[in-house]
Symmetry: C2
Protein backbone atom coordinates (compact mmCIF):
# COMPACT_ATOMS: atom_id res chain seq x y z
CA UNK A 1 0.00 0.00 0.00
CA UNK A 2 1.21 3.48 -0.90
CA UNK A 3 2.37 5.24 2.25
CA UNK A 4 0.36 8.29 1.35
CA UNK A 5 -2.99 6.68 0.64
CA UNK A 6 -5.57 8.95 2.16
CA UNK A 7 -9.03 7.75 3.22
CA UNK A 8 -12.31 9.25 2.06
CA UNK A 9 -15.57 9.37 3.96
CA UNK A 10 -16.77 6.03 2.56
CA UNK A 11 -13.68 4.32 4.01
CA UNK A 12 -14.60 5.61 7.42
CA UNK A 13 -18.17 4.40 7.01
CA UNK A 14 -16.83 0.98 6.03
CA UNK A 15 -14.58 1.00 9.08
CA UNK A 16 -17.53 1.79 11.30
CA UNK A 17 -19.54 -1.15 9.93
CA UNK A 18 -16.57 -3.42 10.60
CA UNK A 19 -15.68 -2.28 14.11
CA UNK A 20 -19.13 -1.54 15.55
CA UNK A 21 -19.66 -5.01 17.05
CA UNK A 22 -16.41 -4.61 19.01
CA UNK A 23 -16.37 -0.98 20.15
CA UNK A 24 -18.56 1.04 22.49
CA UNK A 25 -20.78 3.58 20.78
CA UNK A 26 -19.80 6.22 23.30
CA UNK A 27 -22.32 8.67 24.74
CA UNK A 28 -22.38 12.39 24.05
CA UNK A 29 -22.77 14.37 27.28
CA UNK A 30 -23.55 18.00 27.88
CA UNK A 31 -23.52 20.25 30.92
CA UNK A 32 -25.89 23.17 31.32
CA UNK A 33 -23.39 24.71 33.72
CA UNK A 34 -20.49 24.59 31.26
CA UNK A 35 -22.76 25.82 28.47
CA UNK A 36 -23.57 28.81 30.65
CA UNK A 37 -19.91 29.41 31.52
CA UNK A 38 -18.77 29.37 27.90
CA UNK A 39 -21.86 30.86 26.27
CA UNK A 40 -22.02 27.96 23.82
CA UNK A 41 -23.75 24.60 23.37
CA UNK A 42 -21.05 22.03 24.05
CA UNK A 43 -21.44 18.35 23.11
CA UNK A 44 -18.77 16.15 24.63
CA UNK A 45 -18.08 12.91 22.73
CA UNK A 46 -16.89 10.63 25.53
CA UNK A 47 -14.11 8.44 24.17
CA UNK A 48 -12.85 8.25 27.75
CA UNK A 49 -15.64 5.65 28.05
CA UNK A 50 -14.30 3.69 25.04
CA UNK A 51 -12.71 0.27 25.64
CA UNK A 52 -9.16 0.67 27.03
CA UNK A 53 -10.29 4.17 28.02
CA UNK A 54 -9.42 5.95 24.77
CA UNK A 55 -10.44 6.41 21.11
CA UNK A 56 -7.31 4.47 20.13
CA UNK A 57 -9.26 1.23 20.39
CA UNK A 58 -11.23 2.16 17.27
CA UNK A 59 -8.17 2.48 15.04
CA UNK A 60 -6.40 -0.55 16.47
CA UNK A 61 -9.54 -2.67 16.05
CA UNK A 62 -9.98 -1.57 12.46
CA UNK A 63 -6.34 -2.36 11.73
CA UNK A 64 -6.55 -5.80 13.34
CA UNK A 65 -9.81 -6.65 11.55
CA UNK A 66 -8.12 -5.81 8.24
CA UNK A 67 -5.54 -8.60 8.66
CA UNK A 68 -6.06 -12.10 7.31
CA UNK A 69 -5.69 -15.25 9.43
CA UNK A 70 -2.18 -15.89 8.23
CA UNK A 71 -0.98 -12.43 9.21
CA UNK A 72 -2.83 -12.63 12.51
CA UNK A 73 -1.08 -15.90 13.35
CA UNK A 74 2.25 -14.05 13.17
CA UNK A 75 1.08 -11.43 15.62
CA UNK A 76 1.09 -7.63 15.88
CA UNK A 77 3.72 -5.20 17.02
CA UNK A 78 3.79 -1.55 17.94
CA UNK A 79 5.87 0.83 20.00
CA UNK A 80 4.03 3.06 22.41
CA UNK A 81 3.91 3.71 26.09
CA UNK A 82 0.35 4.95 26.00
CA UNK A 83 -3.19 4.28 24.90
CA UNK A 84 -2.28 2.89 21.48
CA UNK A 85 -0.28 0.11 23.17
CA UNK A 86 -3.27 -0.90 25.26
CA UNK A 87 -5.55 -0.64 22.23
CA UNK A 88 -3.40 -2.91 20.04
CA UNK A 89 -3.05 -5.36 22.94
CA UNK A 90 -6.80 -5.67 23.47
CA UNK A 91 -7.61 -5.72 19.76
CA UNK A 92 -5.08 -8.53 19.26
CA UNK A 93 -6.42 -10.49 22.24
CA UNK A 94 -9.94 -10.14 20.87
CA UNK A 95 -8.87 -12.00 17.72
CA UNK A 96 -6.64 -14.50 19.51
CA UNK A 97 -3.46 -12.94 18.13
CA UNK A 98 -0.20 -12.21 19.91
CA UNK A 99 0.74 -8.56 20.53
CA UNK A 100 4.33 -7.43 21.01
CA UNK A 101 4.55 -4.00 22.60
CA UNK A 102 7.80 -2.08 22.65
CA UNK A 103 7.84 0.24 25.67
CA UNK A 104 10.51 2.62 26.93
CA UNK A 105 12.08 1.16 30.08
CA UNK A 106 11.06 4.25 32.05
CA UNK A 107 7.33 3.89 31.31
CA UNK A 108 5.12 4.38 34.35
CA UNK A 109 4.32 1.18 36.24
CA UNK A 110 0.59 1.76 35.78
CA UNK A 111 0.99 1.68 31.96
CA UNK A 112 3.13 -1.45 32.01
CA UNK A 113 0.49 -3.17 34.10
CA UNK A 114 -2.34 -2.08 31.81
CA UNK A 115 -0.64 -3.50 28.71
CA UNK A 116 0.41 -6.68 30.52
CA UNK A 117 -3.17 -7.00 31.78
CA UNK A 118 -4.39 -7.30 28.19
CA UNK A 119 -2.03 -10.24 27.70
CA UNK A 120 0.54 -8.51 25.48
CA UNK A 121 4.23 -9.38 25.48
CA UNK A 122 6.23 -6.30 26.50
CA UNK A 123 9.76 -5.67 25.21
CA UNK A 124 11.54 -2.86 26.97
CA UNK A 125 13.99 -0.54 25.23
CA UNK A 126 15.92 2.65 25.82
CA UNK A 127 13.61 5.66 26.07
CA UNK A 128 14.16 7.16 22.62
CA UNK A 129 12.44 6.84 19.26
CA UNK A 130 15.44 5.19 17.59
CA UNK A 131 15.55 2.40 20.17
CA UNK A 132 11.80 1.93 19.90
CA UNK A 133 11.93 1.57 16.14
CA UNK A 134 14.96 -0.71 16.25
CA UNK A 135 13.37 -3.00 18.81
CA UNK A 136 10.15 -3.15 16.80
CA UNK A 137 12.18 -4.02 13.66
CA UNK A 138 13.93 -6.84 15.49
CA UNK A 139 10.58 -8.29 16.56
CA UNK A 140 9.28 -8.09 13.03
CA UNK A 141 12.38 -9.91 11.77
CA UNK A 142 12.01 -12.60 14.44
CA UNK A 143 8.29 -13.20 14.19
CA UNK A 144 6.93 -11.72 10.97
CA UNK A 145 4.47 -9.74 13.10
CA UNK A 146 2.59 -6.85 11.46
CA UNK A 147 3.53 -3.36 12.61
CA UNK A 148 0.60 -1.10 13.47
CA UNK A 149 1.63 2.53 13.56
CA UNK A 150 -0.24 4.68 16.07
CA UNK A 151 -1.41 7.17 13.46
CA UNK A 152 0.46 6.88 10.13
CA UNK A 153 -1.73 3.99 9.02
CA UNK A 154 -4.71 4.04 6.65
CA UNK A 155 -6.85 1.66 8.71
CA UNK A 156 -6.00 3.37 11.98
CA UNK A 157 -7.03 6.76 10.59
CA UNK A 158 -10.31 5.26 9.31
CA UNK A 159 -11.02 3.75 12.73
CA UNK A 160 -10.36 7.01 14.56
CA UNK A 161 -12.58 8.82 12.05
CA UNK A 162 -15.59 6.86 13.30
CA UNK A 163 -15.60 9.18 16.33
CA UNK A 164 -16.60 12.02 14.01
CA UNK A 165 -19.06 9.87 12.12
CA UNK A 166 -20.95 8.90 15.28
CA UNK A 167 -20.92 12.47 16.55
CA UNK A 168 -22.37 14.00 13.38
CA UNK A 169 -24.86 11.19 12.86
CA UNK A 170 -26.20 11.92 16.35
CA UNK A 171 -25.88 15.75 16.17
CA UNK A 172 -26.05 16.70 12.48
CA UNK A 173 -26.59 20.38 13.25
CA UNK A 174 -23.28 21.08 14.96
CA UNK A 175 -21.52 24.26 13.84
CA UNK A 176 -18.07 22.95 14.69
CA UNK A 177 -16.09 19.96 15.92
CA UNK A 178 -12.85 20.27 17.86
CA UNK A 179 -10.39 17.61 18.99
CA UNK A 180 -6.79 17.26 20.17
CA UNK A 181 -3.84 16.85 17.79
CA UNK A 182 -0.86 14.65 18.66
CA UNK A 183 0.25 12.56 15.68
CA UNK A 184 -2.87 13.73 13.88
CA UNK A 185 -4.56 10.35 13.30
CA UNK A 186 -7.69 11.25 15.24
CA UNK A 187 -8.27 14.63 13.62
CA UNK A 188 -7.35 13.29 10.17
CA UNK A 189 -10.09 10.69 10.43
CA UNK A 190 -12.56 13.06 12.04
CA UNK A 191 -12.01 15.88 9.54
CA UNK A 192 -12.48 13.49 6.60
CA UNK A 193 -15.67 12.10 8.14
CA UNK A 194 -17.15 15.45 9.17
CA UNK A 195 -16.26 17.41 6.03
CA UNK A 196 -17.47 14.45 3.97
CA UNK A 197 -20.84 14.60 5.67
CA UNK A 198 -21.17 18.39 5.68
CA UNK A 199 -18.37 20.69 4.45
CA UNK A 200 -19.95 23.65 6.26
CA UNK A 201 -19.16 22.21 9.67
CA UNK A 202 -15.93 23.76 10.94
CA UNK A 203 -13.27 21.33 12.11
CA UNK A 204 -10.60 22.56 14.51
CA UNK A 205 -7.54 21.06 16.13
CA UNK A 206 -6.22 21.89 19.58
CA UNK A 207 -2.67 21.43 20.77
CA UNK A 208 -0.64 22.24 23.88
CA UNK A 209 1.61 25.25 23.43
CA UNK A 210 4.35 23.05 24.91
CA UNK A 211 3.99 20.59 21.99
CA UNK A 212 2.94 22.91 19.19
CA UNK A 213 4.69 21.13 16.31
CA UNK A 214 1.42 20.60 14.40
CA UNK A 215 0.48 24.25 14.87
CA UNK A 216 3.85 25.39 13.55
CA UNK A 217 3.82 22.81 10.74
CA UNK A 218 0.36 23.80 9.55
CA UNK A 219 0.92 27.54 9.88
CA UNK A 220 4.27 27.42 8.07
CA UNK A 221 3.28 24.76 5.53
CA UNK A 222 6.44 22.82 6.40
CA UNK A 223 6.30 19.59 8.38
CA UNK A 224 8.22 19.74 11.65
CA UNK A 225 9.35 16.30 12.80
CA UNK A 226 11.78 17.22 15.56
CA UNK A 227 10.74 18.99 18.71
CA UNK A 228 11.12 18.73 22.47
CA UNK A 229 7.58 18.61 23.82
CA UNK A 230 6.99 19.74 27.37
CA UNK A 231 3.36 19.33 28.40
CA UNK A 232 1.17 17.46 30.85
CA UNK A 233 -0.89 16.23 27.88
CA UNK A 234 1.07 12.98 27.56
CA UNK A 235 -1.04 11.73 24.64
CA UNK A 236 0.01 14.61 22.41
CA UNK A 237 3.81 14.38 22.37
CA UNK A 238 4.31 12.97 18.87
CA UNK A 239 4.70 14.89 15.61
CA UNK A 240 2.59 14.62 12.47
CA UNK A 241 3.50 12.25 9.65
CA UNK A 242 3.61 13.29 5.99
CA UNK A 243 0.16 11.78 5.59
CA UNK A 244 -1.57 13.37 8.59
CA UNK A 245 0.17 16.68 7.78
CA UNK A 246 -1.30 16.55 4.26
CA UNK A 247 -4.79 15.66 5.48
CA UNK A 248 -4.91 18.25 8.26
CA UNK A 249 -3.47 20.91 5.96
CA UNK A 250 -6.35 20.34 3.59
CA UNK A 251 -9.20 19.71 5.99
CA UNK A 252 -8.71 21.66 9.23
CA UNK A 253 -10.27 25.12 9.41
CA UNK A 254 -7.78 26.14 12.08
CA UNK A 255 -5.63 24.88 14.93
CA UNK A 256 -5.30 26.48 18.36
CA UNK A 257 -2.58 26.21 20.98
CA UNK A 258 -3.35 26.33 24.69
CA UNK A 259 -1.33 26.89 27.85
CA UNK A 260 -0.62 24.26 30.50
CA UNK A 261 -2.59 26.36 32.95
CA UNK A 262 -5.67 26.20 30.72
CA UNK A 263 -5.29 22.45 30.26
CA UNK A 264 -5.15 21.73 33.99
CA UNK A 265 -7.91 24.23 34.75
CA UNK A 266 -10.23 22.76 32.13
CA UNK A 267 -9.40 19.22 33.19
CA UNK A 268 -10.43 20.10 36.74
CA UNK A 269 -13.56 21.81 35.45
CA UNK A 270 -14.59 18.68 33.55
CA UNK A 271 -13.90 16.45 36.57
CA UNK A 272 -15.71 18.69 39.06
CA UNK A 273 -18.64 19.82 36.97
CA UNK A 274 -19.25 16.88 34.63
CA UNK A 275 -18.14 14.19 37.12
CA UNK A 276 -16.21 12.32 34.48
CA UNK A 277 -12.56 11.36 34.38
CA UNK A 278 -10.58 12.67 31.44
CA UNK A 279 -6.85 12.76 30.85
CA UNK A 280 -5.05 16.06 30.20
CA UNK A 281 -5.02 15.46 26.42
CA UNK A 282 -8.84 15.51 26.48
CA UNK A 283 -8.98 18.82 28.31
CA UNK A 284 -6.99 20.54 25.56
CA UNK A 285 -10.20 20.90 23.51
CA UNK A 286 -12.15 22.73 26.22
CA UNK A 287 -9.05 24.83 26.88
CA UNK A 288 -9.07 25.92 23.22
CA UNK A 289 -12.67 27.03 23.59
CA UNK A 290 -11.82 28.89 26.78
CA UNK A 291 -8.90 30.69 25.16
CA UNK A 292 -10.77 31.51 21.93
CA UNK A 293 -14.20 32.11 23.35
CA UNK A 294 -15.33 34.68 20.78
CA UNK A 295 -15.07 32.10 17.98
CA UNK A 296 -17.31 29.60 19.73
CA UNK A 297 -19.83 31.90 21.36
CA UNK A 298 -23.46 30.92 20.64
CA UNK A 299 -22.25 27.97 18.53
CA UNK A 300 -23.07 24.28 18.79
CA UNK A 301 -19.70 22.64 19.24
CA UNK A 302 -18.76 18.96 19.41
CA UNK A 303 -15.69 18.33 21.59
CA UNK A 304 -13.78 15.07 21.51
CA UNK A 305 -12.80 13.83 24.95
CA UNK A 306 -10.08 11.52 23.68
CA UNK A 307 -9.33 9.42 26.75
CA UNK A 308 -9.58 8.94 30.49
CA UNK A 309 -6.41 7.16 31.54
CA UNK A 310 -4.74 8.95 34.42
CA UNK A 311 -2.81 7.85 37.46
CA UNK A 312 -5.22 8.68 40.27
CA UNK A 313 -2.30 8.86 42.68
CA UNK A 314 -0.63 11.61 40.71
CA UNK A 315 -3.18 14.26 39.81
CA UNK A 316 -2.23 17.81 38.77
CA UNK A 317 -4.67 19.36 41.22
CA UNK B 1 -49.92 17.29 57.00
CA UNK B 2 -49.63 14.16 59.10
CA UNK B 3 -45.98 13.48 59.83
CA UNK B 4 -46.38 9.89 58.78
CA UNK B 5 -48.07 10.37 55.42
CA UNK B 6 -46.51 7.85 53.09
CA UNK B 7 -46.42 8.32 49.31
CA UNK B 8 -47.71 5.83 46.79
CA UNK B 9 -46.46 5.25 43.26
CA UNK B 10 -48.85 7.81 41.76
CA UNK B 11 -47.37 10.52 44.01
CA UNK B 12 -43.94 9.76 42.60
CA UNK B 13 -45.27 9.90 39.05
CA UNK B 14 -46.83 13.28 39.84
CA UNK B 15 -43.53 14.48 41.26
CA UNK B 16 -41.73 13.40 38.11
CA UNK B 17 -44.13 15.37 35.90
CA UNK B 18 -43.55 18.42 38.09
CA UNK B 19 -39.76 18.29 38.35
CA UNK B 20 -38.83 17.00 34.90
CA UNK B 21 -38.36 20.45 33.32
CA UNK B 22 -35.83 21.30 36.05
CA UNK B 23 -33.82 18.12 36.58
CA UNK B 24 -31.45 16.12 34.39
CA UNK B 25 -32.83 12.80 33.20
CA UNK B 26 -29.59 11.08 34.12
CA UNK B 27 -28.06 8.42 31.88
CA UNK B 28 -27.78 4.73 32.76
CA UNK B 29 -24.28 3.43 32.05
CA UNK B 30 -22.93 -0.07 31.93
CA UNK B 31 -19.45 -1.56 31.72
CA UNK B 32 -18.74 -4.85 29.98
CA UNK B 33 -15.65 -5.18 32.11
CA UNK B 34 -17.50 -4.81 35.42
CA UNK B 35 -20.24 -7.14 34.16
CA UNK B 36 -17.56 -9.74 33.51
CA UNK B 37 -15.93 -9.17 36.90
CA UNK B 38 -19.18 -9.57 38.83
CA UNK B 39 -20.91 -12.12 36.58
CA UNK B 40 -24.00 -9.93 36.41
CA UNK B 41 -25.57 -7.28 34.17
CA UNK B 42 -25.11 -4.03 36.03
CA UNK B 43 -26.99 -0.84 35.11
CA UNK B 44 -25.64 2.25 36.83
CA UNK B 45 -28.13 5.10 37.26
CA UNK B 46 -25.84 8.12 37.26
CA UNK B 47 -27.19 10.62 39.77
CA UNK B 48 -23.62 11.86 40.09
CA UNK B 49 -24.49 13.65 36.82
CA UNK B 50 -27.60 15.23 38.39
CA UNK B 51 -27.61 18.99 39.05
CA UNK B 52 -25.58 19.82 42.20
CA UNK B 53 -23.95 16.41 41.62
CA UNK B 54 -26.45 14.31 43.57
CA UNK B 55 -29.98 12.88 43.53
CA UNK B 56 -30.85 15.32 46.33
CA UNK B 57 -31.77 17.93 43.75
CA UNK B 58 -34.85 15.91 42.79
CA UNK B 59 -36.35 15.93 46.28
CA UNK B 60 -35.45 19.54 46.99
CA UNK B 61 -36.93 20.65 43.67
CA UNK B 62 -40.14 18.77 44.31
CA UNK B 63 -40.41 20.30 47.77
CA UNK B 64 -39.79 23.82 46.49
CA UNK B 65 -42.27 23.40 43.62
CA UNK B 66 -44.91 22.38 46.16
CA UNK B 67 -44.77 25.77 47.93
CA UNK B 68 -47.03 28.68 47.02
CA UNK B 69 -45.73 32.17 46.20
CA UNK B 70 -46.43 33.43 49.69
CA UNK B 71 -44.39 30.66 51.33
CA UNK B 72 -41.63 31.07 48.75
CA UNK B 73 -41.36 34.76 49.54
CA UNK B 74 -40.46 33.85 53.14
CA UNK B 75 -37.68 31.55 52.00
CA UNK B 76 -36.46 28.04 52.75
CA UNK B 77 -34.30 26.67 55.50
CA UNK B 78 -32.49 23.41 56.13
CA UNK B 79 -29.55 22.14 58.11
CA UNK B 80 -27.03 20.04 56.26
CA UNK B 81 -23.38 20.16 55.42
CA UNK B 82 -23.80 18.03 52.36
CA UNK B 83 -25.62 17.52 49.09
CA UNK B 84 -29.07 18.39 50.47
CA UNK B 85 -27.82 21.87 51.39
CA UNK B 86 -26.61 22.48 47.85
CA UNK B 87 -29.84 21.03 46.45
CA UNK B 88 -32.11 23.28 48.52
CA UNK B 89 -29.92 26.27 47.67
CA UNK B 90 -30.14 25.72 43.92
CA UNK B 91 -33.84 24.78 44.00
CA UNK B 92 -34.58 28.00 45.92
CA UNK B 93 -32.48 30.11 43.55
CA UNK B 94 -34.32 28.57 40.59
CA UNK B 95 -37.58 29.96 41.97
CA UNK B 96 -36.12 33.26 43.12
CA UNK B 97 -36.48 32.33 46.80
CA UNK B 98 -34.03 32.87 49.63
CA UNK B 99 -32.35 29.79 51.14
CA UNK B 100 -30.96 29.74 54.70
CA UNK B 101 -28.54 26.90 55.21
CA UNK B 102 -27.42 25.94 58.72
CA UNK B 103 -23.96 24.37 58.54
CA UNK B 104 -21.67 23.09 61.27
CA UNK B 105 -18.78 25.51 61.74
CA UNK B 106 -16.30 22.72 60.97
CA UNK B 107 -17.77 21.95 57.52
CA UNK B 108 -15.13 21.52 54.82
CA UNK B 109 -14.30 24.73 52.94
CA UNK B 110 -15.25 23.10 49.64
CA UNK B 111 -18.82 22.49 50.88
CA UNK B 112 -19.19 26.02 52.25
CA UNK B 113 -18.11 27.38 48.89
CA UNK B 114 -20.51 25.14 46.97
CA UNK B 115 -23.51 26.32 49.01
CA UNK B 116 -22.40 29.95 48.90
CA UNK B 117 -21.93 29.57 45.15
CA UNK B 118 -25.63 28.81 44.78
CA UNK B 119 -26.40 32.09 46.50
CA UNK B 120 -27.64 30.69 49.81
CA UNK B 121 -27.22 32.48 53.14
CA UNK B 122 -25.12 30.31 55.44
CA UNK B 123 -25.55 30.35 59.22
CA UNK B 124 -22.85 28.54 61.09
CA UNK B 125 -23.49 26.62 64.32
CA UNK B 126 -21.76 24.24 66.68
CA UNK B 127 -21.18 20.87 65.07
CA UNK B 128 -23.98 18.88 66.71
CA UNK B 129 -27.57 18.03 65.81
CA UNK B 130 -29.04 20.03 68.69
CA UNK B 131 -27.27 23.23 67.60
CA UNK B 132 -28.30 22.64 64.00
CA UNK B 133 -31.96 22.22 64.92
CA UNK B 134 -31.91 25.19 67.29
CA UNK B 135 -30.34 27.46 64.71
CA UNK B 136 -32.86 26.36 62.09
CA UNK B 137 -35.69 27.05 64.55
CA UNK B 138 -34.36 30.55 65.20
CA UNK B 139 -34.30 31.28 61.48
CA UNK B 140 -37.85 30.02 61.08
CA UNK B 141 -38.97 32.29 63.95
CA UNK B 142 -37.17 35.29 62.42
CA UNK B 143 -38.21 34.83 58.82
CA UNK B 144 -41.14 32.43 58.58
CA UNK B 145 -39.04 30.34 56.18
CA UNK B 146 -40.21 26.79 55.38
CA UNK B 147 -38.05 23.98 56.74
CA UNK B 148 -37.20 21.26 54.22
CA UNK B 149 -36.02 18.12 55.95
CA UNK B 150 -33.41 16.12 54.04
CA UNK B 151 -35.48 12.92 54.05
CA UNK B 152 -38.37 13.00 56.53
CA UNK B 153 -40.55 14.94 54.12
CA UNK B 154 -43.31 13.65 51.85
CA UNK B 155 -42.34 15.76 48.84
CA UNK B 156 -38.65 15.03 49.24
CA UNK B 157 -39.30 11.29 49.29
CA UNK B 158 -41.47 11.59 46.17
CA UNK B 159 -38.74 13.52 44.38
CA UNK B 160 -36.05 10.98 45.25
CA UNK B 161 -38.37 8.18 44.11
CA UNK B 162 -38.23 9.51 40.56
CA UNK B 163 -34.75 7.95 40.32
CA UNK B 164 -36.42 4.54 40.51
CA UNK B 165 -39.21 5.55 38.15
CA UNK B 166 -36.76 6.63 35.43
CA UNK B 167 -34.64 3.52 35.90
CA UNK B 168 -37.53 1.06 35.59
CA UNK B 169 -39.17 2.96 32.75
CA UNK B 170 -35.91 2.63 30.81
CA UNK B 171 -35.06 -0.93 31.96
CA UNK B 172 -38.36 -2.63 32.86
CA UNK B 173 -36.79 -6.09 32.95
CA UNK B 174 -34.39 -5.53 35.83
CA UNK B 175 -34.34 -8.32 38.42
CA UNK B 176 -33.25 -6.03 41.23
CA UNK B 177 -32.49 -2.44 42.21
CA UNK B 178 -29.99 -1.51 44.90
CA UNK B 179 -29.17 1.86 46.42
CA UNK B 180 -27.49 3.37 49.47
CA UNK B 181 -29.32 4.02 52.75
CA UNK B 182 -28.55 7.05 54.93
CA UNK B 183 -31.71 8.70 56.23
CA UNK B 184 -33.68 6.43 53.93
CA UNK B 185 -35.37 9.06 51.77
CA UNK B 186 -33.86 7.82 48.52
CA UNK B 187 -34.64 4.16 49.05
CA UNK B 188 -38.10 4.94 50.45
CA UNK B 189 -39.00 6.74 47.25
CA UNK B 190 -37.31 4.19 45.01
CA UNK B 191 -38.86 1.17 46.71
CA UNK B 192 -42.35 2.70 46.45
CA UNK B 193 -41.80 3.50 42.77
CA UNK B 194 -40.24 0.17 41.82
CA UNK B 195 -42.58 -2.10 43.80
CA UNK B 196 -45.50 -0.04 42.53
CA UNK B 197 -44.43 -0.70 38.96
CA UNK B 198 -43.51 -4.36 39.42
CA UNK B 199 -43.59 -6.04 42.84
CA UNK B 200 -41.42 -8.89 41.55
CA UNK B 201 -38.38 -6.63 41.21
CA UNK B 202 -36.23 -7.00 44.31
CA UNK B 203 -35.26 -3.78 46.04
CA UNK B 204 -32.21 -3.79 48.29
CA UNK B 205 -30.52 -1.25 50.52
CA UNK B 206 -26.77 -0.98 51.12
CA UNK B 207 -25.14 0.60 54.13
CA UNK B 208 -21.60 1.00 55.49
CA UNK B 209 -20.87 -1.36 58.37
CA UNK B 210 -19.55 1.72 60.17
CA UNK B 211 -23.00 3.38 59.97
CA UNK B 212 -25.26 0.33 60.14
CA UNK B 213 -28.14 1.87 62.09
CA UNK B 214 -30.67 1.15 59.33
CA UNK B 215 -29.48 -2.44 59.09
CA UNK B 216 -29.85 -2.91 62.83
CA UNK B 217 -33.18 -1.05 62.92
CA UNK B 218 -34.67 -3.12 60.12
CA UNK B 219 -33.31 -6.45 61.36
CA UNK B 220 -34.46 -5.83 64.95
CA UNK B 221 -37.72 -4.10 64.05
CA UNK B 222 -36.82 -1.29 66.43
CA UNK B 223 -35.78 2.14 65.15
CA UNK B 224 -32.30 3.16 66.26
CA UNK B 225 -31.88 6.95 66.35
CA UNK B 226 -28.57 7.27 68.17
CA UNK B 227 -25.33 5.96 66.84
CA UNK B 228 -21.75 7.06 66.28
CA UNK B 229 -21.11 6.54 62.59
CA UNK B 230 -17.56 6.02 61.41
CA UNK B 231 -17.32 5.71 57.65
CA UNK B 232 -15.85 7.40 54.62
CA UNK B 233 -19.35 7.44 53.09
CA UNK B 234 -20.15 10.93 54.33
CA UNK B 235 -23.61 10.97 52.75
CA UNK B 236 -24.82 8.07 54.88
CA UNK B 237 -24.25 9.26 58.44
CA UNK B 238 -27.86 10.01 59.44
CA UNK B 239 -30.39 7.64 60.97
CA UNK B 240 -33.82 6.70 59.62
CA UNK B 241 -36.94 8.62 60.66
CA UNK B 242 -40.13 6.92 61.83
CA UNK B 243 -41.50 7.37 58.33
CA UNK B 244 -38.56 6.04 56.33
CA UNK B 245 -38.18 3.21 58.85
CA UNK B 246 -41.82 2.22 58.25
CA UNK B 247 -41.50 2.40 54.47
CA UNK B 248 -38.23 0.50 54.23
CA UNK B 249 -39.49 -2.13 56.70
CA UNK B 250 -42.40 -2.82 54.42
CA UNK B 251 -40.77 -2.45 51.00
CA UNK B 252 -37.11 -3.49 51.11
CA UNK B 253 -36.34 -7.13 50.32
CA UNK B 254 -33.10 -6.93 52.27
CA UNK B 255 -30.34 -4.59 53.39
CA UNK B 256 -26.60 -5.33 53.24
CA UNK B 257 -23.70 -3.85 55.16
CA UNK B 258 -20.28 -3.40 53.59
CA UNK B 259 -16.78 -2.76 54.89
CA UNK B 260 -14.79 0.44 54.41
CA UNK B 261 -12.27 -1.55 52.40
CA UNK B 262 -14.98 -2.64 49.96
CA UNK B 263 -16.30 0.90 49.65
CA UNK B 264 -12.91 2.38 48.76
CA UNK B 265 -12.05 -0.56 46.49
CA UNK B 266 -15.33 -0.29 44.58
CA UNK B 267 -15.06 3.50 44.39
CA UNK B 268 -11.65 3.11 42.77
CA UNK B 269 -13.00 0.42 40.44
CA UNK B 270 -15.77 2.75 39.26
CA UNK B 271 -13.34 5.65 38.75
CA UNK B 272 -10.72 3.58 36.92
CA UNK B 273 -12.94 1.34 34.86
CA UNK B 274 -16.01 3.48 34.20
CA UNK B 275 -14.12 6.81 34.13
CA UNK B 276 -16.78 8.53 36.19
CA UNK B 277 -16.47 10.35 39.49
CA UNK B 278 -18.59 9.01 42.31
CA UNK B 279 -18.47 9.78 46.00
CA UNK B 280 -17.93 7.00 48.54
CA UNK B 281 -21.68 6.79 49.33
CA UNK B 282 -22.29 5.78 45.69
CA UNK B 283 -19.74 2.99 45.83
CA UNK B 284 -21.57 1.32 48.72
CA UNK B 285 -23.99 -0.28 46.23
CA UNK B 286 -21.30 -1.97 44.12
CA UNK B 287 -19.59 -3.00 47.35
CA UNK B 288 -22.80 -4.79 48.42
CA UNK B 289 -22.80 -6.68 45.12
CA UNK B 290 -19.14 -7.57 45.57
CA UNK B 291 -19.71 -8.84 49.12
CA UNK B 292 -22.89 -10.76 48.24
CA UNK B 293 -22.03 -11.90 44.79
CA UNK B 294 -23.99 -15.17 44.85
CA UNK B 295 -27.28 -13.24 45.23
CA UNK B 296 -26.65 -11.08 42.17
CA UNK B 297 -24.96 -13.59 39.87
CA UNK B 298 -26.52 -13.72 36.38
CA UNK B 299 -29.05 -11.06 37.39
CA UNK B 300 -29.88 -7.75 35.80
CA UNK B 301 -29.30 -5.24 38.56
CA UNK B 302 -29.89 -1.49 38.65
CA UNK B 303 -27.46 0.34 40.93
CA UNK B 304 -28.00 3.90 42.08
CA UNK B 305 -24.86 6.04 41.96
CA UNK B 306 -26.19 8.65 44.34
CA UNK B 307 -23.67 11.44 43.91
CA UNK B 308 -20.28 12.59 42.74
CA UNK B 309 -19.17 15.31 45.11
CA UNK B 310 -15.68 14.64 46.40
CA UNK B 311 -12.72 16.78 47.32
CA UNK B 312 -10.25 15.97 44.54
CA UNK B 313 -7.39 17.05 46.78
CA UNK B 314 -8.27 14.47 49.41
CA UNK B 315 -8.91 11.12 47.74
CA UNK B 316 -8.84 7.80 49.61
CA UNK B 317 -6.55 6.20 47.02
Amino acid sequence: MNNMVVPVRADIEDAWEKIRPYIHKTPVLSSSLLNEMFGAELYFKCENFQKVGAFKFRGATNAVLSLNEEALSRGLVTHSSGNHAAAVSLAAKMRGARAYIVMPSNSPEVKKQAVAGYGAEIRFCEPNLRAREDTASEIIKETGATFIHAYDNFNVICGQGTVGLELINEYPDLDAVIGPVGGGGLMSGISIAVKGLDPDIKVYGAEPLGADDAYRSLKSGKLITHHKPDTIADGLLTTLSERTFAILGEKLDDIFTVTEESIVGCMQLIWERMKIIVEPSSAVTLAAIAENNQIFRNRKVGLVLSGGNVDLRNLPF
